[in-house]
């Protein structure tokens, strides 16, 4: 485009002249001279980015592509054209963009249909270079459905075709759809034998293919465990590739393959190839002696591997001082690199964020289940300070990982009581909750839920910081996860809270929103909302106060839920709310005057589920409690309605809790 032309680096006139000459020669009527021109161009561009840019600007690419596609061109010429194009692709990202814009990909893919192996290899090499660039749209590989099967068929041709094709696959397999396409075209059977190729490059690229194919893909992973390579199970081939004398890249990629297969449930987490090989290999990758990139990848993969398995977390936590080793991830750029070596500083800076987020992720995974490990993590040097500063880093990746880590640690009662409070983690957390992306909000609000548990000393300061409004707004989110967290946090907050707080919650949330949440399609949201109601309706003065102002709507909501199709847990929670209402002084009347509700309670006392029977009985018991005003009338009314008979029946229940509860209720009549 014109813009690009203008943006092209300024070139010296004499360079332009020679470049011009190279391009001119491509148009010579004598094919022999054209060939020589292409060869000369090849030699001129090798390692010369300036020359490459010049030739592209001067329009060499379309001409080269033309010559490459012409069937009248000699095989030699076509091959040399592919080589030059491959060389041009080796330059800058702008070069790649220009090549792709000139439709180099379909032209080269067309070239693969040739029968000349040398030409095919040259095309593949160029395609490889184009496809591994981040600027090339991966989708271009899948546009023509005949391409993938043809590439599969070329795999057997030579070591080079194997290397280039597997490299293309491993870079172009980005989505489950891509995985499925490759899988359906026999990628596993075709690539598996390459794992024992004599060429290291081929082995390595084949291995990378398997790691991208298996990632979060059960179908691929389940197939892989049964594959034999030269009579040996694929898992064993991967284990061998993790041997400590293998190149780090190979160890790491093999460990990724096994990790993905394990997470896709194709390998058990207690399999020795995971416990004794993959996990130790990944822990080793985190050690200081490896490259920063390797350490990042190792830590992330390890975090992913052990996330769901507490036993793996325990083993990793004692392997090679992993917890202490991760502390080093926070020391980049080191003070030494800043002064002595600009190049090193640059390198360190580039990886510093990645290192930190990887370490946070791994800490989060390590501490997700085991209290002792969490303790060990929080006792690591400056750990809480690091999390606190991580929460407010500019990199969103780091913030997210830091809050994940904090969330994981917030599952510890002890840490909530101590380190969390000491380091006032709620402050940056609250700050993080202001206009953060959903991903971060989910984690942060989830952490907040834990910080609002009644035994958490952070609860008070958080309340004072005006969190209620924020949480109420979360309940209006489109994301179910955020709605759950918002209401969950409010529920925790309302537990045994002051009247003032409860009133504030109701006021801020608004009854309309409350009832909207009670009809939320997400059961989790419904459950937590009921939980909130239940917490709001505790202690008699609170019950009466809230019921006097919102009684009508609450009774309506309760009726609706009891009449609708809901799980036992939802109904039980609702009956518990009813029981709480029945415990109020004035609130009782809302039930007593509602015959329909009383019939419902009666119905649930005779329900087949003991939990519901128990909750309903509780409700009756509260209604007829002796020491309260008007208990006689209520007792009489309920006797008339046949409750006493039911209570008598329930005393015979095989469930001791239920029969006890029924007996206690009946005693009210005897007094």
């Amino acid at each position: 485009s014109v813009k690009k032309l203008l943006k092209a680096p300024a070139v010296e006139p004499e360079v332009t002249a020679t470049s011009r000459h190279y391009v001119d020669r491509l148009f010579d009527p004598d094919p022999q001279k054209v060939l020589q021109g292409v060869i000369d161009m090849k030699n001129a561009v090798i390692g010369n980015n300036k020359q490459k840019a010049n030739l592209i600007v001067l329009g060499a690419v379309p001409r080269l592509l033309y010559l490459l596609q012409q069937s009248s061109s000699s095989m030699e010429l076509r091959t040399e054209c592919a080589v030059v194009l491959g060389s041009l692709a080796m330059g800058t990202e702008n070069n790649i963009k220009s090549l792709v814009d000139c439709h180099i990909i379909p032209a080269l893919l067309q070239g693969l249909l040739s029968s000349d192996l040398i030409f095919i290899e040259a095309c593949l090499r160029c395609l490889r270079t184009v496809f591994i660039s981040p600027v090339t749209p991966v989708q271009l590989l899948y546009t023509d459905p005949t391409v993938i099967p043809h590439l599969m068929s070329l795999l057997s041709n030579s070591l080079r075709t194997q290397e280039y094709i597997t490299q293309i696959f491993s870079h172009c397999c980005k989505t489950p759809e891509h995985q499925t396409i490759l899988f359906n075209h026999g990628a596993i059977q075709n690539i598996a034998p390459l794992l024992i190729s004599p060429s290291y490059k081929v082995r390595m690229q084949a291995l990378k293919c398997f790691s991208v194919l298996a990632y979060e893909n059960t179908q691929v992973s389940m197939t892989l465990v049964n594959v034999l390579v030269d009579g040996e199970l694929l898992t064993q081939v991967f284990v061998k590739m993790m041997q400590r004398d293998q190149p780090i890249e190979m160890q790491l990629t093999a460990a990724k393959c096994l990790t993905y297969m394990c997470r896709a449930s194709a390998i058990r987490t207690d399999d020795s190839c995971i416990v004794l090989k993959t996990l130790p290999c990944l822990v080793r990758m985190c050690s200081k002696e490896h490259l920063l990139e390797e350490r990042v990848e190792g830590a992330e993969t390890l975090a992913y591997l052990m996330e769901p398995d507490v036993e793996l977390q325990r083993i990793a936590s004692t392997t090679d001082h992993l917890v202490a080793m991760l502390a080093d991830y926070f020391k980049y750029p080191s003070s030494v690199s800043a002064i002595t070596d600009i190049k090193r500083l640059d390198h360190d800076l580039k990886h510093a964020h990645e290192l930190r987020q990887a370490a946070f992720k791994l800490y989060a995974s390590l501490g997700s289940n085991d209290e002792d490990i969490r303790k060990k993590i929080t006792e690591t040097e400056n750990m809480m300070d690091r999390i606190v500063s991580g929460l407010s880093e500019s990199s969103i990746k780091v913030r997210l990982a830091a809050v994940r880590c904090l969330h994981s640690l917030s599952r510890s009662v002890q840490q909530l009581r101590t380190s969390f409070h000491d380091h006032a983690v709620w402050k940056p957390l609250m700050k993080l909750l202001q206009n953060a992306p959903d991903e971060v909000l989910v984690m942060a609000s989830s952490t907040l839920c834990n910080l609002l548990l009644e035994f958490s000393p952070s609860k008070e300061p958080i309340l004072e910081s005006g969190v209620i409004e924020l949480l109420c707004s979360l309940t209006q989110s489109d994301s179910p996860a955020l709605r759950v967290n918002g209401i969950w946090a409010l529920m925790n907050m309302a537990f045994q809270a002051d009247q003032k707080v409860k009133v504030e919650i109701v006021r801020c949330l608004g009854t309309e929103q409350l009832f909207r949440l009670l009809s939320d399609p997400d059961t989790n949201v419904l459950m937590k909302t009921l939980g909130l109601l239940r917490n709001l309706l505790s202690t008699r003065p609170h019950i009466d106060q809230i019921m006097s102002s919102h009684g009508k709507q609450i009774m309506q909501a309760v009726t609706l839920i009891l009449e609708a199709e809901h799980s036992i847990e939802v109904k039980e929670q609702t009956l518990c709310i009813l029981a709480n209402i029945a415990d109020g002084n004035t609130a009782k009347d809302l039930i007593m005057t509602n015959d329909d509700m009383l019939q419902k309670i009666k119905y649930y006392m005779g329900h087949s589920n003991v939990k519901l029977q128990l909750a309903a009985t509780f409700c009756v018991s509260n209604l007829i409690w002796n020491e309260e005003d008007g208990s006689q009338e209520r007792q009489d009314k309920l006797r008339e309605m046949g409750f006493v008979d039911i209570l008598h029946k329930l005393t015979q229940s095989s469930d001791p809790n239920l029969s006890d509860r029924a007996k206690t209720a009946l005693q009210q009549y005897l007094a």
Partner: protein, 608 residues
């Protein structure tokens, strides 16, 4: 039960030290130790194989072949702690050393320590528990089960790893390259516990409360932790270090040095055509005239095919003063000639014989590379030995063609195996071919006796004639029935007489030498050994029969070659061989001085 098994343990230790058949476990242990620690010379530095019944505190009881340790004290205070060390310290040549301990029972409190200690450490404690008696337990290192702490020559531990208890397998790995130590629990590495470890540490365990029982695995069983994988990593590291070692700053210097080494090696061993071609293509000067190289080559071929008489004669012709100035060398050559006469290969007896083909005649070998003066030492040097056989196989094949014109008679079947046989002989397990025996043997016996009588020194390795006679007769009978093929001096009576005569000359030469140059024990032994051949009816199958092996020509050949080169002011040994020898010596010295990286730097790995 413990009494019974400790009895078994005692028996076992007898078996270990004796030569009797090793049981399966011992076999497995030996195999595993050899595989894990190939660089360790156990004659110099034996590997730990069990706990030492001598090196333990009295509260420690041993059983199950000294592999099981139990506590038998009161265990009331930390002062009741007790330790036991393994039989030997860890040799540096292991490079990486590893052992495991399984906790059979944690006993009352599980105060168990696993680790290392130097000799002289008080055995009355867990490894590393010192309780403020500083100095006492210097160089003691342990990992304790009750608190998971590591203790390094002091009573206060550092938090290190998880606790361990009944059923756990704890491993201890010493890296002798960087002098660190890490532990493993149930196959998982727990990370570095100690750094800057001193040399010569013993595997050690300590126990402190009643009921504590642990079993050691020094290689008797497969390890839970994959130590071989860890060793692979270090082997790779060391080899990368060697590969990346900076060589010469200036361009081409390294290459020209290597070319010089190769050229000098070719010249030394008289591969004239190759040397010439190599020198030409690498543009080097050869520091010896081609004719001279060819002369040496001729002499070497004669020696190596057992034609000593001709070899001596040729040497005297081509290098007139050489042997005169080197009477010891001449004596050595003559002794060899005598041996070759017995063998039936020397030209002087061969022309007299005319019977039976000379199996040794067509020795296919070229000079064996690097066997020169250091040859004897090489048999105890695994590096050199390996190098020898490697190179020999490579070089010989093209050499055997050029030497074939010298073999006047076709090789009898079986004799072509000389080379493989010589390889085996280096390892000390040579197999001898059956030989023919006839009435000549009686003559030999007679002659032997004659020699013995004439020389009061007694050349028969201390076997008196009175006792040998009846034995020999018995032996003759056996050999005859065995239908042996080889005959003394090729089976010719005249040849035998010539040999006897030559023996007498040799004897007087020896006496003459002693008078002229004083006593020479090497010469004396040489002659004695050579004459001893005649003490046996079947010299080839006798204890001194090794002398008849073609491989014994090689040191003679290289000594003669070196002497010739010396007169030309050329080095006695080719620089290449010297470099290889030095490298091997270096590694041996590293092993002795505690540099563990020698374990992963075998010279063999670099000779292809």
């Amino acid at each position: 039960m413990s009494g019974q098994s400790s009895g078994g343990g005692f028996l076992m230790s007898v078996v270990v030290h004796g030569d009797s058949a090793l049981n399966e476990q011992e076999k497995e242990l030996n195999q595993r130790l050899r595989r894990l620690y190939p660089a360790v010379n156990e004659n110099e530095t034996p590997l730990p194989r069990s706990w030492s019944p001598k090196d333990k505190f009295s509260y420690i009881g041993l059983s199950q072949n000294n592999l099981r340790v139990h506590y038998k004290g009161h265990g009331k205070t930390p002062k009741d702690a007790a330790s036991v060390r393994a039989t030997h310290p860890i040799p540096a040549a292991c490079g990486v050393y590893y052992f495991e301990v399984k906790i059979i029972s944690k006993g009352r409190d599980g105060y168990m320590g696993i680790g290392l200690s130097a000799q002289g450490v008080n055995m009355n404690r867990l490894p590393d528990i010192t309780f403020a008696k500083a100095g006492w337990d210097k160089h003691s290192y342990g990992y304790h089960g009750d608190d998971g702490h590591s203790f390094c020559s002091s009573g206060t531990g550092q938090p290190y790893g998880p606790t361990f208890t009944t059923g756990d397998v704890i491993g201890c790995c010493v890296n002798l390259i960087n002098n660190t130590c890490f532990y493993t629990k149930n196959g998982h590495s727990l990370g570095i516990a100690f750094t800057d470890l001193p040399p010569n540490l013993y595997p050690t365990v300590g126990l402190q409360t009643p009921g504590e029982v642990v079993d050691a695995n020094f290689g008797q069983h497969p390890f839970v932790f994959d130590i071989e994988d860890y060793m692979r990593e270090w082997r790779t590291k060391i080899q990368a270090q060697i590969d990346r070692f900076p060589i010469g700053e200036r361009e081409g210097e390294w290459q020209s040095m290597i070319q010089k080494m190769v050229a000098s090696y070719l010249v030394h061993h008289s591969y004239c055509a190759t040397a010439e071609a190599f020198a030409k293509s690498t543009d080097q000067a050869v520091h010896e005239e081609l004719a001279s190289i060819k002369n040496r080559q001729k002499i070497q071929k004669l020696v190596l095919s057992g034609r000593m008489g001709e070899a001596i004669e040729t040497t005297q012709q081509l290098y007139p003063n050489l042997l005169e100035r080197n009477p010891d060398l001449l004596f050595m050559l003559k002794v060899r000639q005598f041996i070759e006469m017995v063998n039936g290969t020397d030209s002087e007896v061969r022309c007299l014989g005319g019977r039976s083909p000379k199996s040794q005649d067509s020795y296919p070998g070229s000079p064996r590379p690097f066997s020169s003066p250091s040859h004897k030492a090489s048999s105890s040097q695994p590096y050199l030995t390996g190098f020898d056989s490697n190179c020999c196989n490579g070089v010989t094949s093209n050499k055997s063609h050029s030497s074939s014109p010298h073999s006047h008679k076709p090789c009898p079947p079986g004799s072509g195996s000389t080379l493989p046989a010589s390889d085996i002989s280096l390892n000390g397990s040579r197999s001898q071919q059956p030989i023919t025996s006839n009435d000549v043997d009686m003559e030999v016996d007679h002659f032997t006796n004659g020699v013995t009588e004439s020389s009061s020194n007694g050349f028969l390795n201390g076997t008196s004639k009175h006792t040998t006679e009846p034995d020999d007769c018995d032996a003759d009978m056996e050999v005859e029935s065995a239908q042996s093929k080889r005959q003394l001096c090729g089976g010719s009576q005249a040849a035998i007489e010539r040999m006897i005569h030559f023996g007498r000359e040799l004897q007087s030469m020896s006496e003459h030498l002693r008078r002229e140059c004083g006593k020479n024990s090497a010469n004396k032994k040489m002659l004695k050994d050579a004459f001893s051949l005649l003490a046996y009816s079947d010299p080839w199958n006798s204890p001194v029969g090794y002398q008849l092996d073609a491989i014994q020509r090689e040191p003679v050949c290289s000594t003669l070659n070196s002497a010739i080169l010396e007169t030309h002011n050329l080095p006695k040994q080719p620089p290449l061989a010297q470099a290889v020898g030095q490298a091997a010596q270096c590694l041996a010295m590293m092993a002795r001085t505690g540099s563990g990286s020698c374990a992963f730097a075998s010279v063999d790995d670099y000779l292809h």
